[in-house]
Each structure stands twice: as C-alpha cells, then as structure tokens.
Amino acid sequence: MTFNSEESLWLSGNEAIALGAWEAGVQVASGYPGTPSTEIMKNLSTYDGVYTEWAPNEKVGLEVAIGASFAGVRALATMKHVGVNVAADPLFTASYTGGRGGLVVLTADDPEMHSSQNEQDNRNYAFAAKLPMLEPSDPAEAREMLVRACELSEKYDTPVLFRITTRIAHVKGVVQKGSRVELAKPSIEKMPGKFVMLPALARARRVEVGKRMIALCDHAEILEENRVEDGELSQGFVTSGTSYNYIKEAFPDAAVLKLGMVWPLPAKMIADFAAKVDELIIVEELDPFLETHIKAMGIACKGKELIPAQGELNSYLVRKAIDPESIEEVFEPLELPMRPPNMCAGCPHRGLFHCLSKMKDVFVSGDIGCYTLGFLPPLSAMDSCVCMGASVTIAHGMAKALGKEGEGRVVSVIGDSTFMHSGITGLINSVYNDSNTTVIILDNRITAMTGHQNNPASGCNIKGEAANAIDFEELCRAVGVKRVTVVNPHDIDETRKVLKEEVAIPETTVVISRAPCALLPVVMKAKRPVYYTNTDNCTGCMACVNLGCPAISWNPITPEEAIERGYREKQKGYALITEVQCNGCGQCACVCKFDAITRKEEV
C-alpha cells in the first residue's frame, strides 16, 4: 500500500483500531490497560465525540460497554487476553441479551508472552460463548474490520469479539482514512425479554443465540473478509490474523483461504477450497482452533503436526515447518550476558523489595505490574505471581493452610492499580475471614507498567483531567482493617522497621508504600539531589550494588589496584554511581554504612 499523506496515515494496529472505532460511530468505550491493548483506549480518548474511560477492571469495562449498547449507541470494551477471563461473566450472558447499539469486545492476545503470564488463545472464547469473532491481519484491516464488527453486531443482535495479537497491536503500517458514520441517538427502551436474564427468559434467548449462529454461518460464506486467493494447488493454506502474512511471505504463489472471521466458520467455502487443493494445511498461531473445527467438518488437513502450538510464528518458522529443505543456515547466537528488564533508577519499589529481601523467612505473594521485577536478582524478593489480585488471596490461603506456622511469615505485595482492579475483594475476604497476613500496597500513584495510565486512585481521568481519587487509607479502614500504616519506601530504615512490626501482628494489616513512579513527569521535572560515590570511603561491601539500581555499577579490581587505591588488599572492587542516570531517590545512601555515598550539594 503506498503512502499518500492526504489520504493515508502511518499507524500502529492499536491506533488504527481507535480510528476505526471512531469512524464506526462508537460513542462509549471503556477498558482496563493491559499490554498489548493499552494504546487503543489511549488513542480513542483523544478523539472528539466519543466518551472514553479507564475502568478499574475488565469486567467493569465490559459492563459499561453493555450498558451503552442497551442505551442504543455503539460501544467498545478493550482488554488484554487475560482480561477476558475477568470479563467472562458478563460476556457469556451478553451473548444471550445482545444489545441495541453495536457492541465490540476487543481481546489483545500475546503469543510468546512478551508481557503476560500466559499465552491463552482467546479464539476459544468465541466458540465457548457462541459469539462471532473477527481477526485482522494488519493495521489497515484492523481499522476496516472494526467498522464491520459494529455492523455485524447490530445485524445479528450479538456482541462481536475482535481478536488482535501483539503483531497487530504493535505493528505499524499504512492505513487509509475514512469518514465517521452518522451517530445513533441514545434512548431508554425497556426490553425485558431481552435484557432481564432470569431463567425463563434466558431459555428463550438461548434459542435466539442458536438461530443467530446458524445465520452467521451462512453470512460467513459471503463475508468479504473471508476470501480465497488463487494460486498453486499442490498445497492450499487456511489461515487468519498475522499468520496470513507469514504464509504470503513464505509461499507467495500458493492458494490461500484467508479467514477474516474465525468464528463461526464458512463450512462450504472451506470444503470447496479443500476439494481444489492436493493438500490442505492450516497455519495458525497457538491452539489448533481452526484445525479442530475443520477436522470436525470431516475435512482432512494437516496443522499442528507441522506448525508449533506454542509461541509466535514468523515466516521463517512457517517455511521451516512446511518446506524444511528450503531453509538456509544462519549464524549461531553468541553467548552474552542476558539483559532482562529492570526497575528504573529511583524506582520506589526497589526500597520496599530491598527490605523484603532481608526477611528471608517470609513468603512474598506477588502480583502483576512493574514490581513483579522484584523477583529478579539481586533483590529476588517475590515468591509467587499468578494473576491480577491474586497476591492478597494466595497469601491468605497459604496462611490458613500454615496455621500457627504461618504467623508473621506471609505477606502480599500489590500495586495501586492492581489493588483497585481486584485486590480490594481479597482484602475484604482477609478481614472477614480473620487473616493474619500483611497486605503491602505499592502506591506509586499510576498504572506504570503499561505506560502511565491513570486509575481510580490517581486523581485524574483518562484524558488527564481532575477526577475523584480513592483514598487507600480510608478504603482499607472502611472494610475493617484496624492497622493501616503509610511508609516512604525511599526511607529504607523506617520501612524495615514498619514492615517488621506489622508483619508480626497476628491480624490483617495494611502497609501502604507510597512514593510516585520515578518516570512520572512531576517527578522527572522536580529538582532532585544527585548522589555520587566517594570512592575513597568505599569498602566494596556491595550493599548499594545489591539494590540492583541501573545507576550503580560494580568495578572489579586486582589486589595491586586495591593497594594503589588505598584499599585493603583483599577488596575486590568498588561501587560507582553513574550520575546522569541517578534519579536522586537516596536509597543507596540509606544502605551505605561507610559514608561512601553523598548528595552532590553536601560536598
């Protein structure tokens, strides 16, 4: 596609989806940040004529979108793949109610787990919840299909699932601009037979769901987005999403059946295509979703016996799987030190995890966010991480199992946004069921990991305008927590003292570790002290190095160099602060017992 700045834009998949949603006349959109979906809401919030919000979690976001649809306007809910698990409850029943305005539920899957705890294939939700699902192959298609999704939703009275993956969301490509459709007028219309899902009414709606899916099967046969691309017939490929791109690169001359709608499937189109080709191969990332359903149609095909069922695909892997002889040798990788992500210089989480790392008998039940990096050495201070909100409840379950043994030995750590997402229900459970665990809320004032989205405690809405802010101390006290303590995690001595005291108390206690994210503009712009190393005083104890701050490095020396520098002969090295990287948090000065780290202005 050529680029003409009059008519086209250079957009990521997520930007293109925001554009598509706006053009489709979406008037209400709600979501919870989660890689790789976050930028959709972020972009959509910059358009006029559409209400956008960050919801505290995906279930809330989807319910808000359902409400907007019930009021007769087009609506969108966005989430990452695991967010659909949270939103599954309303999703399965919204399948029965349908709506009035078009309702699109976007799931951003993460094959390869670039930024996720699992790589579930959410196409399975389409089958399980009896919903149509569209899947684009690139940003240009993503924009067009979002409009199509709204149309299908209204025509068939159904929510439409819209699935993207990391290589759609975070891929940039040329996208054509369109214009916005005429907006629907919202209204209240009482439709109890459709909207009140108690058993007798739900049974009637279940019949409608069955009819709708049959009608959608017929529509799948003529849907523009399902198409055959003619080519050589020795091998024919059925594919969808980003896998389509890999087939086009690896086998440009082959016949391809490209599915833009991956559920329900066009049975006749697939059967006709299968009859034309000598060998039918299904090329799809993750689960054998298309393969299983195509085999169930009685059509012979190959799939996962060739194509990996784990991780991302690419054109190389597809070629290697199908035509291994065409593969040329490539250079072997070199052995290099790994470079995993790390907490930033000045990150408040570091101080808290440093203190936890000294409490060796304590099990740290972790959660999802930047602070999950507290697991990595040298801090190594997180012992479990399952899903959003699970820190509080897993700690409680462990403590109940351990009984007396567990007293003073189980804590949970959870970020401000994650606590709002699903930590609060766990805390209520802990109070109600008399837990003896400590919940540490890492309140850095923002949803940091996904790139600084505001949340209900931040005091700003999605557009950055002032909003009501939840007060954590009041909230915790209101649910019945008697001991709520706030600490500044940069003050390591005080934090250690408070943690020791609160963890020892045999009841539910809350410690709020509060300091803003080091990357927040308000922190970046503030005048901060710069710390520097007075290397003459350094004894090589490594206390500061073991904070794992990217601004501090260890410099090994030989015994001769040690003597030359005036150190003891057996001193193995010294620490050095890279001043341009220092964010002035002062944690290193707190842990240095030898006056080797000082503020610049104190010199």
Partner: protein
C-alpha cells in the same frame, strides 16, 4: 534503487529506538515504498534489550524480519549489536554506537562485559561501522540526538536521498528540536562513507 530490505534496530529500552525507526520508516514511505514496522512495548521497555523490525518493499506482508535476512542493523549499544547475530547475513552492515550499558549481571559483578564483540561480527564478513554517537551529539550540543546521529550514519546504506530524511525531520519533529536533529542527522551521515 534497492526494491526491498530489512532494517533491524536494537538497543536498550529508553535509548530512543522508537524515534530513530520512525524517521527511517517515514523516509522509506516518502520514497514510495510500503513499510511495516514491529515493536515490543510493555515489560521489554524497563531497561531490557529491545528491537524494532522495519521492512520495506513494493508490498510488505510480514512485520518481522526472518533470521539471516537483516540487511542493516542499527545497534544503539555495543553488546546489543551482537545479541541478534542470527538475524544477520554475511553481507549485512551493522552501524553501532560504541556506548556500553552494563546489564544487571555485569553491574552487580556477577558477569563481565564481553570484549571483542565487534570483531566477532567482522570475522563473519559483516561490515561494521562503529561510532561514538554520544560524542557527536555532545559536539552538536544536545545529547538526546544520539539516536538521530545513528540514523544519519545508517542512511549511507540506503538509496533514499538524505534530503528526504531532512524533510521528514522538518515534518515530524517538534519545531524547537528540528534544527538540532537535522544537524545530528547530517553529522552522522558525514561520519560514514559506505
């Protein structure tokens, strides 16, 4: 003019890979190519090793470069020039900023920073252009333009005229940073004679 190609950007999260790859993409678009670019956001940005894949041609489907198919690599950090060796081929050109950023295992004394990395590449026939982009950026008076210095150096390996890059900077960079970025591009470009 070469009708298609693959450019791999590699470095450490926070080094400005995004802007460098964006300028390059816009220059290729202006030159009439189809372009796709793939990035990874989220967890990878916290000081971890990051890449951006840029592919251009008449029609580009896959946003990912295949192993053995990167024609040019722009490496913003020395070790990150070698981490993606399987993506290179013997005629690849690697433009590398000689800055060293210590990964956590090296910074905490558990491992040492490897030596002779660039020779490992040269020994395989790969053309390596090493430059100190920070020194160039410092001379220009704005350290943050090191990434654009790298784009300038890399542009020698592309058929797209340097004027297109300068026009893209005019169009896409905020007014107050335009002139300094154009200077950075030109300084980078003049460092290398491909």
């Amino acid at each position: 003019m070469k009708q298609s190609g693959n450019i791999l950007f590699s470095g450490v999260g926070g080094q400005g890979i995004l802007l460098a790859s964006e300028l390059t993409a816009y220059a290729q678009l202006e030159a009439g190519f189809d372009v796709k670019k793939s990035e990874v956001h989220g967890m990878a940005q916290r000081g971890g090793s990051v890449t951006a894949h840029l592919r251009y041609g008449e029609k580009v489907y896959s946003p990912l470069i295949e192993p053995g198919k990167a024609d040019i690599q722009v490496a913003f950090e020395e070790m990150e020039a070698a981490r993606y060796l399987p993506y290179l081929h013997k005629d690849s050109a690697v433009v590398v900023n000689t800055q060293k950023i210590l990964p956590p295992s090296v910074a905490t004394g558990k491992a040492s920073y490897p030596t002779g990395i660039l020779d490992e590449l040269r020994n395989r026939g790969i053309k390596v252009v090493a430059l100190d982009a920070f020194a160039v950026a410092r001379d220009i008076g704005e350290l943050r333009t090191a990434n654009v210095v790298m784009v300038g150096a890399m542009s020698n390996f592309l058929a797209v005229s340097p004027q297109i890059f300068l026009d893209v900077i005019d169009e896409r960079v905020k007014e107050q940073f335009r002139e300094v970025n154009k200077k950075a591009f030109t300084a980078g470009r003049d460092l290398v004679y491909a």
